[in-house]
Symmetry: D2
Subunit: 121 residues, 4 copies
């Protein structure tokens, strides 16, 4: 099934990335440590267009900045999927588990409208 | 539908995060710039357990390290989903587009088994 | 000469860090790559207290936040000095060279009061 | 006194950066938050040449990579000096204070040759 007709979801993305890496024999470079480094570098590149903005809203980015941000979001997701795949971790499962943990750490009543960390609520 | 019974995919995650933020009235803090900063901080926390490893394989992490990494992967994904939502960007679409771009920048024959950047292939 | 009485400058800091590392036999872990990872992680920890601030001024940090920032600044400097030492690079020389390069890339008249990158001036 | 003949130390660097920023009227953009973001982005750019290296030694960088690293080290130092200046923090003082704290957290006998964190020694 080609990329153009398949359902675009996270499992399909994982599969497409596996093929991309296998075709180029890049698996050897993709230790979890290296993937975590690359992800961190991409996350910084995602921050870069925002770094001098006064308010940090999307409109301040401009069309070119917004396109750059879209590509960097993609890079972060791709490394995230490859790292999770390498560690045999289900990303979405982990994300829902984290939301549940955060719901306990940040009870609605105490955390509403405040930036305080959970240990200071 | 409760989190426990629903299908765990990216659209469901986006919805769960919207609810989490709305219930706490945190939308006001979540400018794209702030979300990009938080994502970058979480990406560094994900790198942290790997930073002194010699090889960087999963087995060097230990059970505790692997759990920490799972939580940090989740944090990165959650900020990624919130930031993309805020910018009205479809994450998986963007990721597939980036793979296509990279397939052109890194032709299979030229890039096989090498770390060279595309402008040096 | 003890730390308490010596002149506190960058060469003295480099020397103190060499001793600290040698006493603990940590040199083996301090590959340039690992030091660069650690520096990047500390830089993110330095960003963390600022991430949700509306304006990002020092007064928003509070006393506790400011102390945390002081410690993170120190961590970044310490890794920076160790990494430069490891690569035999003179940090301050490199910094002045970069200022001269930037003075050419960002001519005063064209860059005054604007955020534009040098290739868009 | 011109940059070419003056003593190149950290106080001189701070002064040179103040002038560079003042001449371009960039002080308005340099909130502590924005400087911390920029520093974090530069730290990631410093990590970037190392990210796929197997061992992470300087020799793997090549001449071009080493030059890039020298420039990124400079960028990190420059933002570090500007941020500390803005927060009225003495960088080298803070760095020596941190070494003293770390000497207590990591006693020589217990931490020799191990990667364990202080709370696991």
């Amino acid at each position: 099934m080609s990329v153009d007709t398949q359902k675009l979801d996270l499992p399909a993305l994982k599969q497409a990335l596996r093929e991309f890496v296998a075709e180029r024999d890049w698996h050897q470079f993709h230790t979890p440590k290296n993937l975590a480094s690359a992800l961190s570098v991409e996350a910084a590149e995602l921050l870069e267009p925002f770094q001098w903005l006064q308010q940090g809203h999307a409109t301040e980015l401009g069309e070119q900045g917004l396109q750059a941000v879209r590509h960097e979001l993609a890079d972060v997701l791709n490394y995230l999927v490859m790292l999770a795949d390498r560690l045999d971790i289900d990303l979405v499962d982990a994300a829902f588990d984290k939301i549940k943990l955060n719901a306990v750490k940040y009870p609605i009543e105490k955390s509403r409208g405040t930036l305080k960390k959970y240990d200071q609520l």
